[in-house]
């Protein structure tokens, strides 16, 4: 732990703002994952890991539960299928029954393609907008964007961020914890927004 205090620390953000989060930067996925495990084991809950690509095993290292997206998609699939059945039945059986080619108005085989397509269509909307909803995106104003170093996260750097809103957060203790994971750099990001 002799080199702990050699890790540089800077504060970024607008004048007179309050700390929003602490950001530690790493060079490799492994270092970042060990840091995530330490932060998780220390009992933090409002923390996050930022990586240029999804790192296998990181969900476990952070102690995340499985994504709930599948349930949203399943609901949308049922809705899509029901919409198709309702649409076809209303249009060709109830509102405007019309015999074409001697086929009865209610003919199940002819339902198949449109029911399938609308099930897929609704499910895909569920997957994309459900994912954005669960992630609370779009959000263009996050305090983390105050950091210039953080711009490398979409290139080749790996970050752990701990929010100051975390009940376990303490400026000195959190900093010491992150320093023990040997990051390149630590930043305290300040912002006016909560």
């Amino acid at each position: 732990m002799a080199d702990v205090h050699n890790i540089p620390l800077t504060r970024v953000g607008p004048e007179g703002a309050s700390p929003a989060l602490v950001l530690a930067e790493y060079d490799t996925p492994a270092a970042c994952m060990h840091a995530a495990e330490k932060v998780r084991d220390a009992g933090y809950t409002h923390f996050d890991v930022h990586t240029p690509f999804p790192v296998h095993g990181m969900d476990k290292a952070m102690g995340l539960k499985d994504s709930r997206l599948g349930w949203i998609v399943a609901t949308m699939a049922v809705l899509g299928f029901s919409t198709a059945v309702g649409l076809i039945t209303w249009a060709n059986v109830i509102s405007y029954p019309f015999v074409v080619g001697g086929k009865p108005p209610f003919s199940i085989p002819s339902y198949a393609p449109v029911c399938f397509e609308l099930t897929v269509l609704f499910s895909a909307f569920g997957a994309v907008f459900g994912m954005l909803g669960l992630n609370k995106l779009p959000r263009h104003n996050h305090p983390i964007f105050e950091s210039d170093r953080f711009r490398a996260v979409t290139d080749d750097k790996f970050f752990v961020s701990v929010e100051c809103a975390d009940p376990k957060y303490d400026e000195t203790l959190t900093r010491t914890l992150l320093e023990s994971t040997k990051p390149n750099h630590i930043e305290i990001v300040e912002d006016n927004e909560p």
């Binding site: 990586t51 690509f53 296998h56 994504s67 249009a91 609308l118 992630n135 080749d156």
Partner: protein, 472 residues
Amino acid sequence: MSNDGPIQDIGEKHLVVPGTTFRKITEAVSRVTENPAPRGWWIMFLAAVSFTGVLGLAIGYLFFRGVGVWGNNSPVGWAWDITNFVWWVGIGHAGTLISAVLFLFRQKWRTSINRFAEAMTIFAVICALLFPGIHVGRVWHAYYMFPIPNSMSIWPNFKSPLLWDVFAVGTYFTVSTLFWFVGLIPDLATLRDRSVNSVRRMVYGFLSLGWRSSNRHWQNYERAYMILAALSTPLVLSVHSVVSFDFATSVEPGWHTTIFPPYFVAGAIFSGFAMVMTLMLVARVVFKMNDLVTMTHIELMNKIILATGTIVGYAYAMEFFIAWYSGNEYERYVFLNRAFGPYAWAYWTMISCNVISPQLYWFKRLRTNIPLSFVISIFVNIGMWFERFVIIVTSLHRDFIPSSWGYFHPTPTDIAIYMGSLGLFFTLFLLFIRWVPMIAMAELKSVLPEASAHHHAHEDHDHHHAQPAKAE
């Protein structure tokens, strides 16, 4: 994306040139959108835009005069327009196959090519959708295709395969666009973070939705990506199946056959891979992507072209067999007429391009030969266009009564609209490679050995020097 061990551990080849780092991928891909366009891009872009202008003029003329300016006439009521529609939809299929099916099969080599294959899908489907739209004749009534309540209280016929087509191709376009955009979000964020001027920062920042590479987000993102892949896989098979129903559900010799759905899907994948190959080889040369799109990719793509080309050849043979085996004299006549009648030139062009030319790829020397790959990819594109032409026109041009026999001649407007649709496709594609990351950076990074949390940097560095990259 990141779902198992490093590539070398399971005995696969390097997916990119060894020594490629995360930074190198970011640089190589992003700089294309940041540096001024190379001269080759401008030459192709101006040519493509000119053809798009021709498309606009030809469609304007068509709307002004009506569909009589096309060569379609009884008995050939469907001709170039539907040929072009089926051809363009088919080309789109390879993009979905690469992005979804190969994803589900964990074929990680797809990561270098999936982005522009997906873009190709979207642009091909845009070109495809154009044709049914302008084929309705009275285009101001094109909304009749959709189940919209209207003042006449009539609804579309849901028993018609043409209506299924509206749903299938419409869903396909929407889902492909969503899938593509989801894949783009992290890479647009990369461009946002690299941008040096405020316009780029605003535009890419807006489009990347405030993406901050959070692992809590990646978790849902990866799940969404997997679900979209799982949805797109049956979707892509359904789309060309439904397109084939347009023909197969009619009682028309030459069309009324159960082999059509799988045969159309195989042909679609075949033509789409050929188009990906054409575009990839051009983009690789113009933008110097040799380190990311390697000979391994070209060879694997050529193997798929060989496999699907052989399936298509089998389907051609099986159609003939079934025509004979059915004992139906009209069915037999249609096929003999295809191969030896007035359109024999089209039929044998199709056979030469689609069945014979890919067979060269049995030889490793030939499937790793770049100029040959380019030439064969063009042949396959031509051959697949002729396949649709042969199916549509030769089945129609000699109706049951010899007094209803005819020969289809395309008019200049037919040709101009087809050439114009190529112009539209290439215009969109060139704009895409200029302004959007053409290789999926985040995905490509995730398949580097360095992307694993269990990777040991120094050991692997030595390993790279001991075993330099080879094509195989």
